[in-house]
């Protein structure tokens, strides 16, 4: 990343007032000159003389709290109330790479990898600190006082001697005179001890807009003269359009156009980027939907014919026996460890596909003209939304404007290009703006599901009940290697991890906590079995394991350095908070598990009560998370609570099924999800304080360890070991 410091420019409004505009800075260093008169400054902050302060948020908010965190960070440096800022999304500020694709500028503009807060943390603080210093210097010049007589308070510069304060808005014009060279080297964000907002609970700055139904989501956008498209997409996992009756469709009320969308790529042997489809374009969504429902379309689904969830599961079982190993990892002498073991424990685990079920169905408005295009959408990545529009229109990225709105969840699926491409293709075809709205059925049938896998687990323990050997063999239909590549490998000397890949026509993709969301279950669930078989308490067994080393650098993405002293402290904290190990009534049980996801680590104790033999109620979850510096503890707790409930839902019900090459789970009747009636009424979250100066990941960290903590609790309560998900069908 090249050094990118903040630049300022000044905009004149029609009323003759000035606005100070600052671009984002990703480093505290300075340029020789910071004033840009070209008018090309992409705003990060905008101050107007009528007192408005606009925060342009660089990364979309899909529920992870990015907008609130951005406002909070900016407000801290400028001594403002976060609710006094106005929120906008930052325009794309990257550039075209050698192939003409949009690539990230001073910082990434997509949400993923639980990185959002980590990414904006430095740049937003530096940018806001620079703004603050411009105001301070402008006031110093106006009042002819030394800088050190001044400070900022409540959105104003305050003179400590005269006790006079001047709100920023009166200094907007004066910041032209502020001399950046005077500030050189002095612009530093506040020290931790001086902070009044960061590290404290900050409510969602969109809370009022949400509670009153303001149109802030992508699906709420409208532009003049737009048409509505509903698309019938190939219902087969892989296939193409054969025939349909165009005239019959055009005769239906409100229908204006019927347009074929070709599968991309057209080579059916490659994973679909865009499904084959037939778009019905009408004056209203309902007319388009009604016509689409009536369309009689013949598809060629032969390529995926005969594929089913059950057959794929059988292939996985077979692959575990005889299949090829695509990647492996080995250490020590596993055969010897197994031969010398006091006990060898074996088990087979399996999880099906999970659908994303993004709460806001995918949508995009595109207005494609001959030499430019503009889109309005809920997308996880501003950058990738532009690439999607460019791919569909063949326009250079410099001619594309993307307006990314608040996303009604993203969960990994809203990173994909398909819904943006569809809108662009259709708008280009009819020469008018088009809004594409997916139905729930579209969203599930065309999902990029969490991969499915089966695992053969084997462990050796010695006479003292210590783990001495570890063997994982995986047959997966995705690049989910973590279960076969991560600790306890390295904590035990003798290990082997094998990953086998099974191709099929289901489209797989990232789902909240990719890889970890299931690896954590397999590893922490099996460790629990091994502990119990070895006659150990599961907590003691984990503490022994994580006492064997202090650090371990992983070779799986994003290559974290695990700090096991933290693991031990997290486990002890959560055990204490949950009173883990206390006597429980008959039919009740506690389960414990810990996992690292991206750069964060989380542990849970789940308490359940069996309801008969095949159901259970989760009464309480106690959690401890290490997310580095918690910028917004209230938001961190929300992410942990959400991760818990998402994990409970996926574990109990998540099961995307297909038969004869066609998805058969396609709405909330056939794809069940947990509601409040099964959600734990008590959740206690402890945010670990290890004195970190920077935040780590949060959004995806709580979900992975929740599932093994749950299945371990079910075992404690009932003696039944869940090794096949979903639980609702396997208890």
């Amino acid at each position: 990343m090249t050094n990118h410091v903040s630049r300022r420019s000044f905009l004149k409004s029609a009323a003759g007032t000035t606005a100070l505009v600052l671009s984002i800075s990703s480093t505290p260093s300075v340029l020789a000159t910071d004033t840009d008169n070209s008018g090309n400054v992409t705003p990060c902050l905008r101050f107007t003389e009528d007192g408005q302060i606009f925060v342009c948020v660089p990364i979309p908010d899909m529920g992870q709290g990015m907008i609130t965190t951005a406002a909070q960070i900016i407000a801290e440096e400028l001594d403002l109330d976060p609710n006094q800022t106005s929120i906008e999304m930052m325009a794309f500020q990257g550039h075209a790479d050698a192939e003409g694709r949009a690539s990230e500028g001073p910082m990434p503009q997509g949400a993923g990898g639980s990185l959002s807060t980590m990414m904006v943390w430095g740049p937003l603080r530096h940018t806001a600190a620079y703004a603050r210093d411009l105001f301070l210097h402008a006031a110093a010049i106006r009042w002819s006082v030394p800088l050190n007589h001044l400070e900022t308070r409540n959105g104003a510069v305050y003179n400590k001697n005269t006790k006079v304060s001047l709100p920023y808005k009166y200094l907007v014009s004066d910041t032209r005179r502020a001399d950046y060279t005077v500030l050189r080297g002095n612009t530093t964000p506040k020290a931790a001890k001086d902070r009044t907002l960061i590290g404290r609970d900050q409510r969602n700055v969109h809370a009022l807009a949400i509670a009153t139904g303001q149109p802030i989501f992508g699906i709420d956008s409208d532009i003049p003269d737009m048409k509505h498209a509903v698309i019938r997409r190939c219902p087969h996992l892989n296939g193409s359009l054969v025939s349909y009756d165009r005239d019959a469709l055009l005769a239906l009320p409100g229908v204006k156009h019927v347009i074929e969308i070709a599968r991309r790529p057209d080579d059916l042997s490659r994973p679909r980027i865009l499904p084959a489809g037939l778009a019905i374009i009408a004056d209203s969504f309902w007319q388009a939907k009604k016509a689409a429902d009536m369309a009689e379309i013949e598809w060629d689904g032969s390529r995926a014919a005969g594929e089913s969830s059950a057959a794929l599961k059988a292939r996985m079982a077979e692959h575990l026996e005889t299949g090829e190993v695509a990647d492996s990892k080995e250490g020590g002498d596993l055969a010897k460890a197994m031969a010398e073991a006091d006990k060898v424990i074996e088990a087979t685990y399996y999880h099906p596909h999970w659908a994303h079920a993004c709460m806001e169905p995918h949508n995009c408005i595109a207005d494609v003209k001959a030499d430019s295009a503009e889109i309005w959408t809920s997308h996880q990545s501003i950058t990738e939304s532009i690439n999607a529009a460019a791919a569909a229109t063949d326009l250079p990225i410099s001619k594309i404007t993307s307006n990314v709105m608040r996303c009604g969840t993203g969960l990994g699926r809203k990173y994909a290009p398909d819904f943006v491409m569809e809108a662009c293709i259709l708008s280009k075809a009819i020469g008018a703006p088009v809004k594409v709205t997916w139905t729930r059925e579209d969203e599930m049938e065309q999902d990029h599901v969490n991969p499915s896998a089966m695992y053969r687990m084997r462990a050796a323990v010695d006479a003292k009940g210590r783990l001495t050997g570890w063997h994982v063999r995986t047959a997966a239909d995705g690049w989910i290697r973590n279960a076969a590549m991560e600790p306890p490998m390295g904590l035990v000397d003798n290990y082997r991890g094998e990953w086998g890949y099974i191709e099929n026509n289901v489209r797989r993709g990232p789902w909240r906590g990719p890889q970890h969301n299931t690896a954590a279950w397999v590893i922490q669930g099996f460790l629990n079995e091994v502990a119990i078989a070895a006659g150990k308490d599961p907590l003691d067994f984990l503490l022994d394991l994580y006492s064997r080393k202090d650090f371990q650098k992983l070779d799986t993405w994003p290559f974290p350095l695990l700090e096991y002293e933290r693991f031990r402290k997290i486990l002890k904290a959560v055990a204490k908070d949950a009173r883990y190990g206390r006597r429980m009534p008959d039919g009740w049980g506690q389960g414990i598990a810990i996992y690292h996801t991206f750069s964060g680590t989380c542990a849970h104790v789940v308490e359940i009560e069996m309801i008969g033999d095949t159901d259970y109620r989760v009464h309480k979850v106690t959690s401890a998370i290490d997310c580095g510096l918690a910028v917004n503890p209230l938001g961190v707790r929300a992410q942990v609570e959400g991760g818990i409930n998402d994990g409970l839902s996926a574990a109990k019900y998540g099961n995307f099924r297909f038969e004869d090459g066609v998805p058969v789970t396609n709405n909330f009747d056939s794809y069940q999800m947990m509601r409040i009636g099964e959600a734990p009424p008590e959740i206690n979250v402890r945010i670990m304080d290890f004195g970190d100066e920077d935040p780590r990941g949060t959004g995806e960290v709580a979900l992975p360890p929740l599932i093994p903590a749950l299945t371990n609790a079910i075992f404690a309560a009932s003696g039944k070991r869940v090794r096949t998900l979903p639980i609702s069908e396997n208890l």
């Binding site: 509670a211 139904g213 709460m359 608040r406 729930r440 959400g642 409040i676 009424p681």
Partner: protein
Amino acid sequence: MTTVTFKINGKAASFSGDGDMPLLWHLREDAGLKGTKFGCGIGQCGACTVHINGEAARSCSVPMAALDGTSITTIEGLADGERLHAVQEAWIKEDVAQCGYCQAGQIMAAAAFLKDNPNPTDDDIDSGIDNLCRCGSYYRIRKAIKLAAQNLAGA
């Protein structure tokens, strides 16, 4: 062609058109009230919850033809002018929303629920509210419902 007259958020309104069209799309596209959300279209998720004659209803599953003479309240009409409804206030106070997409429906469902259950137990909530929240904000929804109940009782 169906013609019906009704009230939306206290104002007289009428509709002439396809009587099969669900109320949801009339609200979002004709009336410009985008607060009511589309989530499933089959009455399963509750994102589209509004009040019809004071009772919670899933607007994706109510055809326009059934609305003659009714009075409809949407999330935009829940507050009394500038004064937020107790449920909206509780939602803000408890910081319930994550992505926020489901929350208009949750708030409308909770507001109707509290009329019949002014002092709800956990069991009442478990059986009386079944709106989906994909962000899993259930823990705070439960707290906010209880807070709203308290505030309504004290009002």
